[in-house]
Symmetry: C2
Subunit: 302 residues, 2 copies
């Protein structure tokens, strides 16, 4: 336990609002939550300095927001409702004011956690000679029709995304919006066959659905909602905006598959656009009437 952890834990506890779902909050060996009524969801994501964020550029507050948001996005991808989060950090022992860094990270996490009704119930604060590492684990519960997996897409299904993609590395990747209410609403409205959040990149993440589902898909180039950031980035890279939309990743929109009749319903009742259809096999891009094989690309690091 690093020097000063107790004072920090006291600071945290003073800032932790009561929540009827939380039976034991920060400061004991474990936190305790009221048992969920439906299936218990759990996801963990670890972010490392200089790979997932540049601390000096982004600032600790934004790093905290991102660390919480990417985990909540995984709960959204199952159409779940968040129940609570625990947070572990390794703080660089070399920084001038590691207490301030810890507080800023926590406040950033709380901004996003509060917005999505997710109490931070515990954690582990460490100091070490390395750079900043943050690991957030979020617990949730399944809603309505149960957790939505990646493996339920089938040939003929229609594919949708919840928002425009591409170019997130211009800055949007630091402040993603987990699509939790959107996913729960969709889950009520239609039978979601398969869903994923777009972290690696649209083509790579759709491909994850296809691999798990054992089918293929054709994406409609003209229908993919391209974010203005992708257009902006394309000016600098010489690649097309579509290329950035397909491969940049860290959009944290949701991609999902539904039956054609549910697809029609979504076209009638929402502003979502159909971006493709599932087929027997392969991943394809259809552009101007021409269908070509699409290499699933995503943000691969390490």
């Amino acid at each position: 336990m690093p020097a000063g952890e107790f004072a920090f834990i006291r600071w945290l506890r003073d800032r932790t609002p009561t929540d009827p779902r939380v039976r034991i909050g920060p400061g004991d060996d474990c936190a305790a939550l009221a048992p969920p009524k439906s299936e218990l969801l759990v996801t963990t994501d670890l972010l490392t300095e200089d790979v997932d964020f540049i601390l000096a550029d982004a600032g600790a507050r934004a790093v905290g927001r991102k660390a919480m948001a990417v985990n909540l996005s995984d709960i959204a991808a199952m159409a779940g409702r968040p129940l609570g989060a625990v947070v572990a950090v390794a703080l660089p022992s070399g920084v001038a004011d590691s207490r301030q860094l810890a507080e800023e990270l926590f406040l950033g996490m709380r901004e996003v956690a509060d917005r999505f009704h997710t109490p931070i119930v515990g954690g582990d604060t460490n100091a070490w000679p390395g750079k900043l590492v943050i690991c957030v684990t979020v617990l949730g519960e399944a809603t309505g029709r149960g957790p939505v997996r990646r493996n339920g897409a089938r040939p003929g299904d229609w594919l949708f995304v919840t928002g425009p993609v591409g170019g997130s590395w211009l800055g949007r990747h630091l402040d993603p919006t987990p699509r939790i209410p959107e996913a729960m609403k969709l889950h009520e409205l239609v039978d979601l066959h398969a869903m994923i959040d777009i972290s690696d990149g649209l083509s790579a993440d759709v491909n994850h659905i296809l691999e798990e589902s054992g089918c293929g898909a054709v994406l409609d180039a003209a229908a993919i909602p391209i974010h203005p950031d992708a257009v902006e980035r394309a000016k600098r890279t010489g690649r097309s905006p579509l290329d950035h939309a397909l491969g940049d990743g860290e959009d944290f929109e949701l991609a999902f598959a539904v039956s054609p009749s549910d697809g029609e319903k979504l076209l009638r009742e929402t502003s979502l656009a159909k971006v493709g259809e599932c087929v027997e096999r392969g991943l394809w891009l259809e552009e101007g009437g021409v269908r070509r094989a699409l290499e699933p690309r995503g943000w691969v690091h390490g």
Copy 2:
């Protein structure tokens, strides 16, 4: 997602036995578990290279075991039953064979997890330019009388520990035994007023109980079970074996408080030794009839 993560996830999934409690295992956006019947426990611990372990000395297998064991020890400290674990790692991108490192870590974690019926249900594998970081989060459920907290000790209570302490840094700290069955048995046998696992050090951890409970304690120097490793270490440091027993930490035995009548019952029905008694205030050590104030000491790093 680092290159090769998919192949690694496949390798993991092939090695993950089915478990009726696990509805969705590794490879989706979240794992899903059957809802616990009682309160849901959650604990997270992050271990960093060169602080919590020396990778080259310990080997990845032992590091994996430790990462899992310290979390299970927190579940034990609440008298809980583990339900599942998720694991996040940041692998040093510089190592020759990071896949082998990841596998060894996982196999080490599985050795301990399997022993305590804890399925590893998901995780996050990263590569980065820094040193090895492992973050394990364990979920559990409360047993019998509910989760045992730190805050229920009161003056007059008797204090016990589940086993000998001190000198863990000779090597034992790498292979702690989470006292899960022991805690559940105690929880059935007596009314545990407060409990903690000894990670910081006996005196520091007893002091955590006292701070949360708002009382004090007198430890009986002659009654504290001193591990042979503490004796061994004392030969090298010039400090007393008792000093090492009180302050070394990372023993992962449990310290707990019970009423005097339950204490009598434990003396009759178990081989546990009473190590002290709670008083109104302060932390004291009684040695040869003399009572002196005891500074709570623990392993403070960072």
